[in-house]
Symmetry: C2
Subunit: 296 residues, 2 copies
DNA sequence: TCCATTCTCTGACCTTAGTCAGCGAAAACG
DNA sequence: CGTTTTCGCTGACTAAGGTCAGAGAATGGA
C-alpha cells in the first residue's frame, strides 16, 4: 500500500470514527449538562485534582475553568479547597452528589461502548475489539515523548525504583543492587553519560541510561512500565541512545542482560545486537551484546 | 475476552481516538472559519447538494442551516438555487472560490492523516492502517439498514441492474436474463415473495430476493456492491431472508448458484447450507443448496 | 378549486464556549 | 525585607451554536 492509499484509508477511518464515536460521545456525555462541565466533572475523577493540573490537561483558560468550577460548586457537585502545603494552589474534590453524577457519566460511557458492539455478532465483535486495541496502542505510542533528564529527577527515580523492584521479582536469584556493577548516579549524567525518560500524558513510563566511558558506550537500566509495553518504546529508547552515542563519537554500543528477560533479549537481537563474550563480570548477567553504530 | 474487558477496551479506544483524531480534526478544519461553516462547506462537496439532504446528514436545525448558508453566500463561496423539478427544494453549489476553499480543507485533511502516521516507522504504519481499515469496516457495517422494498423501487432497480451487469461480466458464458429462470418482478413482491435492499448512508449497496411458492422458499438475485464487501452484508441478507421465510411458515430455504461465484458459495456453506441435487433447470446454475430453517 | 403538506427562510432569543485584562493572596527569590 | 512570580478569581466582552415560532412559496391530493 503506497502513501496515498494509506492517507486515504486514514481519512476514511477519521470520518467514520468521528461520526460514529465522536458525535455519540458528546451526545451521551452531555445529556443533562453542557459538555464542558461534563468533561470537567469527568476529569476531576475519584481522587480530586489540583485546579492547575485540570487546566493543563483540558487546555482551558484559567478564567473559564474558574467559572465552570463555580457552576459545579453551585450545583453542589464539587468542593474547592486550598492545598495545605501551598495555599495558592487549590484542590477540587467531588462531593457525594458529584460522585453520583460521575457514576452516571461512567455508565453512559459503557452504554456508548456497548452500542458500538451491539449490532455485531461474536466473531465481528472480537475482530473489532482487537483492531481497536491495535489502533489505540499505535496512536498512544505516537504521543510518548523522550527526554534527557537528570537521574535524580523524580520521574527518573520513579523509573529506577520500578526497575529494581521488577528485577528483584523476576531474577531467579533475586536482585541486590549492592552486589551489581551499578553505575553510581554520576555515571548516567553529563559528561560521563546520560539518562532518558519516556513520558506518556506526563507520566514516566520507561527509561534507559547510557554510560560513556572513553571509547565505549554502554546501555544500563532499561525499563518499560508493564502497561506501556507493546508500544515500541524499547526500540525507541535504543534508537535514542544509539543516536546520542554516535553524537559522542562512539562506534560500538554494548550491554549486558539477564537470561530471564526474554523479551528484551529478542528486542536486542532484532535491533541488530549480536551476542559477544563477557566484557565485564556483572554477577547478574548471562548474556553480553554489542552493535556497531554510526556506520563504523 | 469477556464482555467487561471488551467494553473497557472500546472505552480506551474512544478516549484515545477522540483526543488524537477528534480534537485535531476540528483544529485543522477550523483555522479560518467557524467549524460549523467549515463542516458545511466540506459536506456540500464538488457536485452540490440539496439543502434538505445537508440538513439530514449534518443533523442541523433548518433555521440554523439557512443562516450558515447565507453566511457562506455572503462570502461568495456558494450559490443557492431552486431545483427545476421542485422549486421548493433548493440546491447549493460551490462557486470557484468555494471550490478553492474546499481544496484547502481537503489538503488539511490529508495533513491530519499524515500527522498521525508521521511518528511511526514503516511496520507500525502498516499495522495502524490495517487496523484502521478493520475498525472502519466494522463500524460502517453497523450503520447499514435492511428494508423490504418493492422490486420496482429505484434503489431495487439500481441493485438489480448492477447484479445483471456483474453476472454478464463474470459468468464464463455471459448472462442473458431472457434465458435464465427469472422470477418476474411480481414473484418478488408480496404475497408471492419479497425483496430486501441494504442501504449505507442512504445509498443502496446490496439486495436479495425471496420467492415464496407454496411450501418452499427460494433465494434469488443476491448481490453486494464491490465497495461494500467484507462487511458481513451477505450473511445479514441471508439471516433477514431466513427470518422472513420462517415467519411465512417455511421449513427449508434453497437457492441455486453459478460455479464462478466462489465467495458466495463459501458463504452459503458457512451459513449452514448443504449442497443438494438440482431442483430446477436454471441454465446458469452449477450448484444447488438447501438449509433447514425454523427448527424444523 | 381548496386544503394540507413540504421546504426554506427570517426574526427573536438563549446558552455555551472562550478571551482578555487586571486584582489580591500566597509563595519564592534575592 | 521588599520585589517578583505564581495561582486562581472576577468582570466585561465576543462569537459561535442552536432553538422556536411563524411566514411565504411551491406542490400534491381530494
Amino acid at each position: 500500500m503506497d502513501d496515498a492509499a494509506q492517507i486515504s484509508q486514514v481519512r476514511r477511518f477519521n470520518r467514520t470514527v468521528t461520526e460514529r464515536v465522536g458525535v455519540l460521545h458528546d451526545h451521551y456525555l452531555g445529556l443533562d449538562r453542557p459538555i464542558g462541565e461534563a468533561r470537567l466533572l469527568w476529569e476531576i475523577g475519584g481522587q480530586g485534582q489540583d485546579v492547575r493540573r485540570l487546566r493543563e490537561r483540558l487546555g482551558l483558560d484559567s478564567g473559564y475553568l474558574s467559572r465552570l468550577l463555580r457552576s459545579l460548586e453551585a450545583d453542589g457537585l464539587v468542593t474547592v479547597e486550598p492545598q495545605p502545603e501551598d495555599r495558592r494552589v487549590r484542590t477540587v474534590r467531588l462531593t457525594e452528589a458529584g460522585r453520583a453524577e460521575h457514576a452516571v457519566l461512567d455508565g453512559r460511557s459503557d452504554e456508548l461502548a456497548g452500542s458500538l458492539l451491539a449490532p455485531l455478532n461474536d466473531a465481528q465483535r472480537a475482530r473489532l475489539v482487537a483492531a481497536m486495541a491495535e489502533v489505540d496502542r499505535l496512536l498512544t505510542a505516537t504521543t510518548v515523548t523522550l527526554d534527557v533528564v537528570d537521574p535524580d529527577h523524580p520521574d527518573a527515580r520513579h523509573c529506577l525504583r520500578s526497575y529494581f523492584t521488577e528485577m528483584r521479582e523476576r531474577f531467579e536469584t533475586g536482585f541486590d543492587p549492592a552486589r551489581s556493577l551499578l553505575p553510581d548516579a554520576g555515571e548516567l549524567r553529563a559528561p560521563k553519560g546520560l539518562f532518558l525518560v519516556a513520558r506518556l500524558h506526563g507520566e514516566p513510563v520507561a527509561c534507559a541510561g547510557l554510560k560513556l566511558p572513553p571509547g565505549s558506550a554502554e546501555i544500563k537500566r532499561m525499563w518499560v512500565a508493564p502497561h506501556a509495553r507493546r508500544l515500541g518504546l524499547g526500540r525507541r529508547l535504543l534508537a535514542g541512545l544509539e543516536a546520542r552515542a554516535v553524537e559522542h563519537g562512539r562506534g560500538v554500543l554494548r550491554l549486558d542482560t539477564n537470561k530471564v528477560l526474554g523479551d528484551a533479549i529478542a528486542l536486542y537481537r532484532s535491533y541488530g545486537f549480536e551476542e559477544v563474550a563477557a566484557f565485564n563480570d556483572e554477577p547478574y548477567a548471562h548474556h553480553w551484546f554489542e552493535k556497531r553504530i554510526g556506520g563504523a
